[in-house]
Symmetry: C2
Subunit: 226 residues, 2 copies
Amino acid sequence: MNIGVLGTGMVGQAIAARLAGLGHEVMVGTRNVAETLARTAPDPMGNPPFSAWHQHNAQVKLGAFAEAAAHGELLFNCTGGGASLAALKLAGEANLNGKVLVDIANPLDFSQGMPPTLSIVNTDSLGEQLQRAFPQVKVVKTLNTMNAHLMVNPSQLAGGDHTVFVSGNDAAAKATVSELLQSFGWQDIIDLGDISTARGTEMLLPIWLRLFGALQKPMFNFKIVR
Amino acid sequence: MNIGVLGTGMVGQAIAARLAGLGHEVMVGTRNVAETLARTAPDPMGNPPFSAWHQHNAQVKLGAFAEAAAHGELLFNCTGGGASLAALKLAGEANLNGKVLVDIANPLDFSQGMPPTLSIVNTDSLGEQLQRAFPQVKVVKTLNTMNAHLMVNPSQLAGGDHTVFVSGNDAAAKATVSELLQSFGWQDIIDLGDISTARGTEMLLPIWLRLFGALQKPMFNFKIVR
């Protein structure tokens, strides 16, 4: 499938590499291609710059947000939560309409220091905000509740015996996304309901961040035992 | 141990019965003893009234909030989140000071309909609010992330292979509470850190409520796979 991945950070890199490895035609979208390629410093988390990653993933194309959105039959939002709405506007509504948008972003607010709080919370969610802004897009919130490496290769932890959630208004879009998740290795996919259930998964971030501190490692996940 | 359990609802009943069964001397506290005993109708969730429960748990004493607080060397807050601060004020600071208060309440706001939202969230928590209001009390937030029956008997689900969290500023208090949790059957107890980490566990409620809807049963829990 032709897939557009919006965002060049750790999440965008992990998703793009995995999709390309599964045989999809992937284009990563960024605000400014020249600036993205010119960065040589690691990001604040110590991850290598996009250009270094791209040397090992040359089959993945890089383009402006609008180019990547036009390329994709299905799109991933891997931008930061605070930048997602602006990125999607740059991608262009005409390039998004009618398509499935897999929204992985969390509306983290780092302005008050660590740990971050949520800038949208409780009575709304980023997933709903994006769905309202682009009513013709089929937003499916998922994968926003674990580390990027685990998103695309869940079997590296406990043989994949843990859970991923999907939220969205369109049943066919959720089925498409669930197939993609299964191709990543996900075995336990829980459909929480409509896009308003993204409130619940975005609100997992505060305990995720505290667990990261308590466990001293990012390779963990929630499993819903039932 | 002498233990005071504040709150006569489903959570207070489950906690009080379990503690009494383990040999503790339990007094349940309520706002108005006569009114509590006079209620004959089930609660809005269909649970039997306190008086019916009390017939099968006659070894548990019932008293006003202040009596139960004075009775307990250790206290459980099993009141509704919106009523907790008022209940603790009725219990009386002198009856609380120096003691461990196990806070199980969640600040659910039902005023906007179902599912409820949180009345305290993101940059604060009920656990922190109680700790600020009673600085000489050792507040430990725990057990607020699963069904009441599971709180006190975790082994009935997957042999107990799932997780409970503790948050609090006092290490000795958390150790005391963890021993009590182990006596309930809890095997996987994660210390998230100080009382501000209660934000994370209280913010699990929105996804808990959606999972309750998706799974159509309350007997499930989070396990942190790592």
